[in-house]
Amino acid sequence: MNIVGITACTAGIAHTYIVAEKIQKAAEEAGNRCKIETQGTVGVQNGLTAQDIAEADVVIVAHDIQVHGLERFKGKPTVDIPISVAMKSPKSLIATIQKKLAK
């Protein structure tokens, strides 16, 4: 599976980056490709390209504040969750997505 996503937390200092890493690790461990764009205090990092998005099977948006650029994902299966869900259960998140997409 090709996974792309965005993380954005309230302060934009810590959770955004920690959760991006957790999703990345959980996705790769389960045999997926994954790229997560962070939208934090320093702006957008690891930005998703049009090609990243075109190749993606699913989009994960983990956020506590409004994120920018959601229109890029039009027509893609998208999971919209609070940061805390991905913080607590990154592996379950990936496993649940895999199960749902397989149906």
């Binding site: 309230t10 302060a11 200092i13 810590a14 959770h15 955004t16 980056y17 920690i18 959760v19 991006a20 890493e21 957790k22 990345q24 690790k25 959980a26 790769e28 461990e29 962070t38 934090g40 205090t41 320093v42 990092q45 699913v58 506590d64 299966p77 998208t78 999971v79 919209d80 969750i81 805390s84 869900v85 913080m87 607590k88 259960s89 990154p90 592996k91 379950s92 998140l93 496993a95 649940t96 997505i97 199960k99 749902k100 997409l101």
Partner: protein, 176 residues
Amino acid sequence: MDLREILNPEIIDLRVKGNTKREVLENLSIHLLEQGYIEDVKQFVDDIFLREAEGPTGMGEGLSIPHGKSETVKKIGIAIGRTLNPIAWESDISDSGWQETNLIFLFCVSVDNSYAENHLLLLSELAGKLGNYGRVQSLLSAETADEIIEGLVSDKDEYECDRTSEEEIVELDIAL
């Protein structure tokens, strides 16, 4: 850029005293004051608590990452402390909403960051590293400030996928 630019052994304390969140944050902040990162301990800790009120900063595995922006911050940095006693800390990770914290990464961020973009980038890189279970485990057992710093700057593969968390995999109630 090098993470060592924001890692300073003088603001790493592996024997932080205190029994409450406020006590350990104050004791860690005294190092920030002494090293010229902040000008006022009480104001800084009060600003940290403002951020704490918005949502938990307990990350599980005994790790907490309190952070916030404060007018009293003169220099961006990160104070790292291991507590002598486990500290009750709000957390999204546990079902109770609380965890026991032993390791604290206290992010010290100024309000006007326009001049410090470089250090903010380093801080975000550091935060990402704390999302790695294997790395956090190694930091929890570090015995010196230098071991903490080496554990953070290292890009060794041993910290990568082979040591991920022991999270029990369940099906989540999410819409797709």
